[in-house]
């Protein structure tokens, strides 16, 4: 009966009534206590994943039962849907800007905040605060800050006679604007880096100093390698997050939920999940949207897999390599 390593406690061979009762009790309470989580797993994760896969092969509008169409949704998406390609491109473009920038800037800020200067706790709080602002408030606030005529950002630019772009009205500036907003709320990456920096043993720096290393050498040969697992963690989170951006673009570009045609100027803010949302909940093309969800899933899995494959080249683990 011991299919699984933990299932047969050693005491079971004695089959004393106490142990038998004990084992029954452990199984009974174990299942009972875990029951909510198990039901949740079945009803809200495993079941829906299977259902989603099935829906992706159907034409389904919720009102009528799904009708099987094979791979038609995927064929349509990949060959004839210009908006799908636009949304994929926009999301990729955003990720290519946002992920490296937040890695680099998140690291630089963490290094600054790791200095032994007075009042550093206050600075940490200030740098962290934007991250906890509710996304809807962030969106409404930045929509106003980036207003081309009366906004905060264009105020100094105009005063100095510099060009004042239409941050959210010019298609070329839409994605950089969203990256800027993302960088404002960089607190989590910063905090994780900061924790990583504080975990670097002082002895390593001392040893390097004795060998005559400069600050720059110490940064490249001690800080970066020791911090690489944390940077890797941030990279993976960054991939997962940036491919699923939704709320901020929805609130900024479809104010009040007015689903008027384009998302941002010339659809420059048609993010993947926004287009998915529209297909599902505005056009009620549930099958089509499910196919989009699966493509996104595969993209994220592929990128995460790639990141894990490549980590051997730059990520240093103290206790030896991971996965060996």
């Amino acid at each position: 009966m011991s299919v699984l390593s933990f299932s047969a406690p050693t005491e079971s061979s004695h089959s004393a009534p106490f142990y038998r009762r004990r084992r029954f009790q452990q199984n009974f309470y174990g299942w009972l206590f875990a029951l909510p989580a198990i039901l949740g797993l079945v009803c809200f994760s495993a079941g829906p994943v299977l259902a989603s896969f099935y829906f992706s092969l159907t034409d389904y509008s919720v009102v009528k039962p799904p009708s099987f169409v094979g791979l038609q949704n995927f064929v349509d998406l990949l060959t004839s849907d210009g908006l799908f390609r636009q949304s994929l491109w926009i999301t990729t473009y955003y990720s290519l800007l946002a992920i490296p920038l937040s890695l680099i800037i998140g690291l630089l800020i963490a290094i600054l905040l790791n200095q032994r200067v007075r009042g550093v706790a206050i600075y940490r709080a200030i740098w962290y605060l934007p991250t906890i602002v509710p996304i809807v408030a962030t969106a409404t606030l930045w929509r106003w800050i980036l207003n081309s005529e009366f906004g905060l950002v264009n105020w100094p630019l105009k005063t100095l006679g510099l060009p004042a772009p239409g941050w959210l009205t010019d298609p070329a500036w839409t994605i950089p604007s969203l990256v800027l907003i993302h960088l404002w709320a960089i607190g989590n990456a910063m905090l994780i880096n900061l924790a990583g920096l504080q975990g670097v043993p002082v002895q390593l720096y001392e040893a390097a100093s004795i060998d005559g290393a400069t600050s720059w050498t110490k940064f490249w040969h001690v800080t970066i390698p020791m911090l690489s697992p944390v940077l890797f963690f941030n990279l993976v989170l960054g991939i997962i997050e940036s491919f699923q951006v939704f709320t901020i673009v929805y609130v900024i570009f479809t104010p009040g939920g007015t689903s008027s045609g384009t998302a941002g100027p010339a659809n420059a803010a048609l993010f993947y999940v926004l287009y998915l949302y529209r297909n599902a909940f505005e056009y009620f093309k549930m099958g089509y949207a499910s196919a989009m969800a699966w493509i996104l899933f595969l993209i994220i899995v592929a990128l995460t897999w790639l990141a894990f494959r490549l980590q051997g080249r730059w990520v240093y683990y103290e206790g030896g390599k991971i996965g060996e």
Partner: protein
Amino acid sequence: MERVSTIAGVRTKSAVRASPTSQSRSGQVLAYVLLSLGGLVMFMPFVWLLSSSVKGPNQVFVFPPEWIPNPIHWDNYAYVVQELPFLLYLQNTMIITVGAVTGQVLTSMISAYSFARLRWWGRDVIFALILSTLMLPYVVTLIPIYVIFTRLHWINTFLPLIVPTWFGGGAFNIFLLRQFFLTIPRELEEAAIVDGAQPWTLLRQIIVPLSKPALAVVAIFSFLHQWNDFLGPLIYLNKAQLRTLALGVNALQGLEWGRDMTQYIMAISVLITAPVIILFFVAQRSFIEGIVLTGLRG
């Protein structure tokens, strides 16, 4: 996973410890200058938010902008609370938040105890399956779950936002609490077991009192998540009187009011941001531990 929890451990032990750079005088000055400049840039939007929230309709669209409006329209806040359905939105948000936070804390605690302490057939496989859902993008399950709630006729009720939280409270919370429970020495429970205590008693009388910091982390993040959630209410609540605060703020930007609402939108944004900031300062420690552990926004 091991790695992540070590990081958290380090972070909690000491706020400032190893600082790699030599603390030369010029280095310190440079650090101060950069920190202050950067801090100013980060903080500016907050000042702008506050300033815009107390402007009158003809003070909003002015160039160059006035930082301290004259006169200061504190009455914008009275308007938001009295004339706009702020209190209704707040009430809706609170109903969902209380229901969901309770569900998440209670059921993740009970499940985590089972995974940490009880031996049962299938435990490790199920735990691995639950953990694997962390990798699952939310869009994959979004549509089927919506279909379930449509079939149950729960659209335009708060149930789709509350009920799922009573089923385990999320893989991450289970994982976090399980890891914490594993650090509690078993000996504490053994005496009680000999006395014939049942798992429920052990959980309530031994584990819970020792796990308050971890439970606080779960509760805080659960609160933040509910308070900020937008997509869930957007999909399930389509009636104006059911709106949460997040939906309400967004709706104020729409056309239904027939005029520009910028200063009121800013005032209401201040009102929904303030509780979160207060919570941050009150529970800074739990906050930071939680973020370092999860790396996720609430």
